[in-house]
């Protein structure tokens, strides 16, 4: 008896999984007033992106529902939008998305910049970037688009020179043509850069992470940059760029509810 009940439960669970997997990510338009709302799945990796998605869910117009899908990494967030398993994601800036498109024949587009933030270099020991000692260790991110962003910021402040033939947004440490102070670059994931702050001479970091050390770019950044190219974007498939559902999402992502989340956060600013 017990066994058969277990088998039934397992079968039920399996069926539920199949049904969920088969359900279309989104219908284009709700039919009538009484029809069940259309669910738009939106993938995000971590706060504050997840908080923004939740707030947009509260703000979205009648006829739609936003379902937050939390995923473990930024590449997965793109894979599942590109395959149509979820409708949209909110996890990246446009250059990161373009790298994905190029590598995967992807058709993703950014449809709405939502927030942006000041990136900066910090130092535990220095007050001025000009005091960087000979052979100093500089910790920068290890993923392509943030590596380029960090190097571009250093080049803009004449700490290094980048090969002019290379797209600065795609630069790597190999594209450094002049390094007058013989800086050593330590490349680690964004999540490890806070630990690197304790021992490297200069550290790149996002405000959402450096705040854990009590630092802010406005107060503590030695050099900072705010580039609209890097605003966090709502991303959908190209074929959905002008759909009614996307319009509803864009409205929800620029609502007062989302504005409140961004202003409460303290490290980010609205980008619309």
């Amino acid at each position: 008896m017990k066994k058969s009940r277990l088998a039934l439960a397992a079968a039920g669970l399996g069926l539920a999984l199949i049904v969920t997997a088969c359900a279309p990510a989104a219908e284009q338009k709700p039919d009538a007033e009484n029809a069940a709302p259309v669910t738009l799945k939106v993938a995000a990796v971590t706060a504050p992106m997840t908080d923004v998605v939740t707030a947009a869910g509260e703000a979205i117009e009648d006829g739609y529902k936003v379902e937050l899908v939390e995923v473990g990494d930024y590449i997965t967030a793109n894979t599942i939008v590109n395959s149509g398993d979820v409708y949209a994601n909110f996890s990246q800036h446009v250059p990161y998305m373009e790298t994905f498109n190029e590598g995967n024949d992807g058709t993703l587009v950014g449809v709405q910049p939502v927030y942006n933030f000041l990136i900066a270099f910090y130092s535990k020991t220095l007050d001025d970037i000009a005091d960087l000692p000979e052979g100093a260790t500089v910790a920068i991110p290890d993923d392509p688009s943030n590596t380029g962003r960090a190097l571009k910021l250093l080049a803009a402040n004449d700490v290094i020179t980048l090969d002019p033939a290379v797209d600065p947004y795609a630069a790597t440490t190999k594209d450094i043509t002049e390094n007058p102070k013989n800086l050593e670059f330590l490349q680690v994931p964004i999540a490890s850069l806070n630990a690197a702050y304790e021992e490297a001479d200069l550290v790149f970091q996002w405000p959402s992470h450096i705040i854990a050390l009590g630092l802010t770019p406005q107060k503590d950044g030695l050099i900072t940059e705010l580039d609209p190219v890097f605003a966090l974007n709502l991303v959908v498939q190209k074929k959905d760029a002008d759909s009614a559902a996307t319009e509803a999402l864009k409205k929800a992502f620029t609502s007062d509810e989302v504005r409140a989340v961004i202003e409460d956060n303290g490290t980010i600013e609205t980008a619309w």
Partner: protein
């Protein structure tokens, strides 16, 4: 095969560096497994109830170390140990510093494997050790180790393969190595050919480790 020569031309130097980093991490962690892990495993075996050097406190402490270290998801052990690594090595980043957490887990894995091998040698040997009045070092070096050596080599092979796998996440503290190479130059930039090629090379390494370990173990098996 032109894609292969293209890859080699573009990434050959980085790949060689990554292999050297992995080699360094493997060598140091395997040495610590053999020189520290094996004695710790032996101590657990000797001091447990009914062992020839029964000692509850020592047994508890050694077991606690093994269990606690093995409980950590490895990535979190690395992050957890950052302040300790910085205190001991002066820095917590780079290949040398990244090897320290790998040694912690190497000792724990191999100690547990050693204990398991020793438990499987015939109980008669412990009885002979007792009856003949052998001292603990005599029993260890003349009876237990010779009896268990084939299994210990085989277990070290298994530990080596686990450590190769563990070493692949050390990019999180700038440790580099072949796993970090596959992540950064393959996965993150969608260079699938490079990623799969690297995985194939890792598989070849594992097959080689397994073959060497198996042969050595069979040769040492005197039963």
């Amino acid at each position: 095969m032109s894609w292969l020569t293209d890859l080699l031309a573009q990434y050959g130097d980085d790949f060689a560096k990554a292999m050297a980093e992995t080699g360094y991490m493997m060598l140091v962690s395997l040495l610590s497994a053999a020189l520290i892990g094996l004695p710790v495993g032996m101590i657990v075996f000797l001091t447990e109830r009914g062992g020839i050097a029964e000692n509850r406190v020592v047994n508890l402490i050694a077991n606690l170390y093994i269990n606690v270290v093995r409980s950590f998801p490895f990535l979190l052990l690395v992050v957890f140990l950052i302040p300790f690594t910085r205190f001991v090595m002066g820095t917590s980043f780079g290949t040398q510093a990244a090897t320290l957490p790998l040694c912690f887990v190497a000792v724990a894995i191999y100690a547990r494997l050693t204990e398991q091998i020793l438990r499987e040698i015939p109980p008669g040997i412990s009885k002979v050790a007792r009856a003949s009045g052998a001292t603990v070092p005599q029993a260890v070096f003349l009876m237990f180790l010779p009896e268990a050596r084939s299994g210990l080599v085989y277990a070290l092979t298994s530990a080596a393969i686990s450590l190769l796998s563990y070493s692949t996440v050390l990019g999180v503290v700038g440790g580099g190595g072949i796993g970090d190479f596959a992540m950064r130059y393959g996965y993150q930039v969608y260079n699938d050919n490079l990623m799969y090629l690297t995985i194939v090379i890792i598989i070849v390494c594992v097959l080689a480790i397994q073959a060497i370990g198996h042969r050595t173990s069979v040769r040492l098996d005197h039963r």
